[in-house]
């Protein structure tokens, strides 16, 4: 749930998603869910010459399971806060 909350705080920011099939897509984070499925608007493929396959796509839903990386704008990420939050996650009893 921690990273779900983290990504919710990044809605509206521009991110780049690298998929496991090597496709990299830039876009504005519109929404995220508990599976870290991501919805982007203003979608642009980073290498459109190599990957013309989704030229006419402007908004996309990306399945969480297929995401390798999500590149974030450094100014929008408070790494200190994130470190503390992740540390707390480990020490807290997990709700299973």
């Amino acid at each position: 749930m921690l990273f779900y909350s983290f990504f919710k705080s990044l809605v509206g920011k521009e991110v780049v998603i690298e998929l496991k099939n090597d496709l990299s897509i830039a876009g504005i984070l519109q929404s995220v869910d508990q599976y870290l499925n991501v919805k982007l608007t203003d979608v642009q493929v980073l290498d459109p010459e190599k990957y013309p396959h989704i030229q006419s796509v402007t908004s996309a839903f990306v399945r969480g399971s297929v995401i390798r990386y999500i590149q974030l704008p450094p100014d929008d990420v408070d790494t200190q806060l994130l470190q503390e939050a992740t540390r707390k996650e480990i020490t807290q009893p997990r709700k299973e």
Binding site: K20, L23, Q55, T58
Partner: protein, 96 residues
């Protein structure tokens, strides 16, 4: 998550599958696992030597496991693409 794909129902979508295929169709339904129903679907086969080939499929159910990305197609942009000129390799597989 159900809320996320609602916006695409009855719209023309471009589905990228985990095995690297591109399937275009009208999204009729989906579920939590992202199993989807695509109506009037066709596959766009890209080749580095010949132009794009379209293979008619009809009514399809795609299992969620195999879905990588679902993109909303901008019909105007799509109409203006000259597929006979596009040369590209097939998308790689989504390697887990």
């Amino acid at each position: 998550m159900a809320q996320v794909l609602d916006a695409y129902v009855n719209k023309s979508v471009n589905v990228v599958t985990a095995d690297g295929r591109i399937i275009i169709g009208t999204l009729r339904g989906f579920d939590q696992a992202i199993n989807i129903i695509l109506d009037d679907s066709h596959e766009r086969v890209f080749s580095s030597t010949d132009g794009v080939e379209q293979v008619l499929l009809g009514l399809y159910i795609i299992r969620g496991d195999n879905v990588a990305l679902i993109g909303e197609i901008d019909e105007e942009v799509d109409k203006n693409i000259d597929f006979s000129r596009i040369r590209a390799d097939a998308l790689p597989l989504a390697k887990t």
